[in-house]
Amino acid sequence: MAKLRRPVPVIFATALSLFLALATGVAGAHATKERSVPEDGASVRGSPPVIAMMFDAPIRITMIALTGEGGQALSLVRNDDMAPVTRFEAAPEPLAPGRYEVRWRGLAEDGHAMEGRFSFTVE
């Protein structure tokens, strides 16, 4: 049997092929926020029963914070358990008239950490 004269390059090339074959099995996608309820910059009549964000691909929302005009934090109730969702919902406490800001952070399926913010006014 012929001796392998250059075993290291051959092993390296084989390992590269196997490694790339493994890489094909990984799933994932970037997520982009498409819209929110209330919409960014919108004015709504009365306290919204729910604050929602819609994404084009699943994302885990890991942090969401609602603040009022003075910067005071307001409570939000969520039931998603940080599972990947394309529609995220959280119920705010009753909101008095004023301007509010929502800040969020999350992890897309491809491993990208994302963040964003939007604001709305309650009349």
Binding site: G28, A29, T62, M63, A65, G106, D110, G111, A113
Partner: protein, 307 residues
């Protein structure tokens, strides 16, 4: 690009710094293994330098990878304390980001196996069993280098189809860059070891680097075309601005490499006074430009999208 960077807070800068430092440490570890494999007959000083850089780079890559897991959890939770939140840490570890970093930790640790390859330095009298021993230690180290470079393909935009192709281009691009970066320290050490030794290694590196640059550039160009979907470059896009700046820095590296090959290495070979110092300065400038490329890549992959 500058606008996007100006919007970064302290948290963003720490994350960016850790990411760029991890790029550097990972590529130095992988590149040092490639150096030991490609230049088995390099002088003892060069190989010692490669081993030292390998040990430091691999240790830093492991520590920085673990730190980035915590930093990611901290970012996701919105507070520094979230870095230790078990729920967030589990989410991070189970995500492609975690897979990529844990693969890098394993790859960097495996790179250290190449430190066991002492065969090439022992001389003719200690050659018994050298081939098999060298193959095993170096093979393990090379597999580690491959895992380190390939780990970058397990996160982010390269996961979009066609994944195997994008992953392959990323891996080849990084193997080429690692080879280049990993050779710089040993080259400097070789010029300190004597003019003849320095010139011999620089000449050999220059010849191989031609092919490596072609591979690196081709893989990079194909990857850019894949990630951008073949769209026309747009100067208004942050991603394209960063890519243009990166190309300018790469051209600077190539210009310095050309200068080294055409002028400084022949001067060193001819034993001209100050030639060694001039080559070391040029290599240091090359390293500085590559650091710029890594920092820019860390910024553009975090702040901008290719499409």
């Amino acid at each position: 690009m500058l606008g996007a960077l100006a919007g970064l807070g302290a948290e963003g800068w720490v994350g960016l710094g850790a990411k760029a430092a991890l790029y550097l440490a990972s590529l130095l570890a992988a590149g040092s293994v490639l150096f030991l494999a490609v230049f088995p007959s390099a002088g003892a000083q060069s190989r010692r330098a490669a081993r030292r850089i390998l040990a430091l780079g691999a240790a830093a890559a492991v520590l920085l990878s673990l730190a980035r897991l915590g930093l990611q959890a901290s970012f996701l939770g919105g507070t520094p304390a979230a870095a230790f939140d078990p729920v967030l840490l589990r989410i991070v570890v189970e995500s492609p980001f975690g897979t990529s970093l844990l693969l890098r930790v394993a790859g960097a640790a495996l790179c250290l196996a190449a430190l066991g390859d002492r065969g090439a330095d022992r001389g003719a009298g200690h050659g018994a069993g050298r081939g098999a021993g060298r193959g095993a230690w170096l093979g393990a180290g090379l597999f580690g280098a491959l895992i380190v470079c390939g780990s970058f393909a397990f996160v982010g935009h390269t996961l979009a189809p066609p994944r195997a192709l994008a992953g392959g281009f990323v891996t080849l691009h990084l193997l080429g860059l690692a080879f280049w970066l990993g050779a710089l320290g040993p080259l400097v050490a070789a010029t300190r070891g004597g003019a003849a030794q320095g010139a011999a290694l620089a000449e050999r590196f220059g010849r191989i680097a031609l092919g490596v640059v072609a591979l690196l550039a081709l893989a990079g160009a194909l990857l850019f075309a894949l990630l951008t979907g073949g769209r026309v470059p747009d100067p208004a896009r942050v991603y394209d601005q960063a890519m243009t700046t990166k190309l300018a820095l790469v051209l600077g590296v190539l210009a310095l490499a050309g200068l080294n090959r055409m002028r400084l290495t022949p001067a060193l070979r001819a034993g001209r006074a100050g030639a060694g110092a001039a080559l070391r300065r040029s290599i240091a400038a090359e390293a500085g430009l590559i650091l710029g490329v890594l920092a820019l890549t860390a910024a553009m992959t975090g702040l901008a999208a290719p499409r």
